[in-house]
């Protein structure tokens, strides 16, 4: 293929892409318009199941299987990061000293914000079916709140308050719980991820059937995932160091071969 033919193919592709994009954009409903076919269908279904937060209803009730896929993607991605960032051959963990000066105002702010963030996270998670928020948002807020301790300069306290083994299991448990709820829907109801629990009164704290349970499952997975993710990064940045090469005859290359042979 000569350069000229390549350019012609590229030009044809660009022209076709531009034409189809122009057709698609001119055919789209106007920004902020009144015509929303999907909204009309989704909001009607939301009200049918007495869920005040339409977003939660769509995520966990109307397309629960999609959300299960998304949760699994998050789960797998975090496992990948944890596997890549673990200490490997010729790396070791060292003790992290509590050196470094933290401003007193920062300290005060952390003491003030840490409990506030935890309460906010639980609130957002628990009211996921009623007000904006839900499992994902609550889980992320909780995990960032716990990491405020690191901002306050207390890496040792963060490590104590964050038993990583629990969060490894919590992450998996959330995914299992989500799947189990879906299968329960199939066993008791009509379809996978069907909303089988009575939905109660619209706007009540306990309403909308399975949606709050899904919120708890997702909250567990997301909170644990972000904590495991940040723990891997913090560990790499603060604690894990390459071993000093004591014997100058041993080049990194020979060490690499030993590692791959074993």
């Amino acid at each position: 293929m000569t350069r000229r033919i390549r350019l012609i193919v590229l030009g044809l592709g660009i022209v076709a892409f531009a034409v189809s994009m122009a057709l698609a954009f001119t055919g789209m409903p106007q920004f902020g318009g009144d015509l929303h076919a999907y909204r009309d269908a989704a909001v009607a279904a939301t009200y049918a199941h007495d869920t005040a937060n339409a977003v939660s209803s769509i995520n966990f009730d109307q397309r629960g299987f999609d959300t299960f896929g998304e949760e699994t993607i998050l789960f797998c991605a975090v496992i990948g990061v944890a596997a890549l960032l673990r200490p490997v051959y010729r790396e070791r963990r060292r003790e992290v000293s509590e050196a470094g000066h933290v401003l007193e105002s920062t300290n005060l702010l952390v003491y003030f914000l840490f409990p506030l963030t935890v309460v906010l996270a639980v609130n957002v998670l628990a009211h996921g079916a009623v007000t904006p928020g839900g499992g994902f948002q609550g889980g992320v807020i909780l995990s960032t709140g716990i990491h405020l301790l690191y901002v306050g300069g207390r890496y040792s306290l963060l490590r104590k308050l964050r038993p990583l083994a629990w969060f490894h299991q919590g992450e998996a448990l959330g995914v299992v719980l989500f799947g189990a709820l879906g299968i329960t829907g199939a066993a008791l109801g009509s379809a996978l991820f069907a909303n089988v629990i009575p939905q109660g009164q619209l706007g009540d704290f306990i309403s909308s059937g399975t949606v709050p349970l899904f919120n708890i499952a997702v909250g567990m997975t997301v909170c644990s995932s972000v904590i495991v993710l940040l723990a891997s990064f913090l560990d790499q940045a603060l604690a894990i160091r390459a071993e000093r090469v004591s014997d100058p005859g041993r080049t990194p290359r020979s060490g690499y071969e030993e590692g791959s042979a074993s």
Binding site: P132, G133, Q137, V140, I141, L229, L230, P248
Partner: protein
């Protein structure tokens, strides 16, 4: 009618702010400064989502975009500079011999 004009104005202003913020992220050169600018850009995006009446998305954005992602970037930069410093130390030691 007046209400529509006001909300359109709000959307226009926040879209412009997002555009300016994105340009600031792209044009800041040093990666560690870029992480901080990225955090500010996340906040601008949050404002846009609130203006567009998507509070669920705004909540996710404010936690992930302004806190978690910049923190991961900063930690990665720190690790990379540590590795570079170590390599420099090793090569200096060999040169002395």
């Amino acid at each position: 009618m007046n209400d529509g004009v006001l909300s359109n104005l709000l959307i226009g202003v926040s879209l412009t702010l997002v555009l300016v913020g994105a340009a600031a992220v792209v044009f800041s050169h040093h990666p560690s400064k870029q992480a901080v600018v990225l955090s500010g850009y996340g906040l601008l995006l949050t404002i846009l989502f609130v203006v567009l009446q998507a509070p669920d998305v705004a909540l996710s954005q404010v936690a992930i975009g302004t806190a978690v992602v910049p923190l991961i970037v900063v930690l990665a930069i720190r690790k990379v500079s540590d590795i570079r410093a170590e390599h420099r130390g090793i090569t200096d030691g060999q040169e002395e011999k």
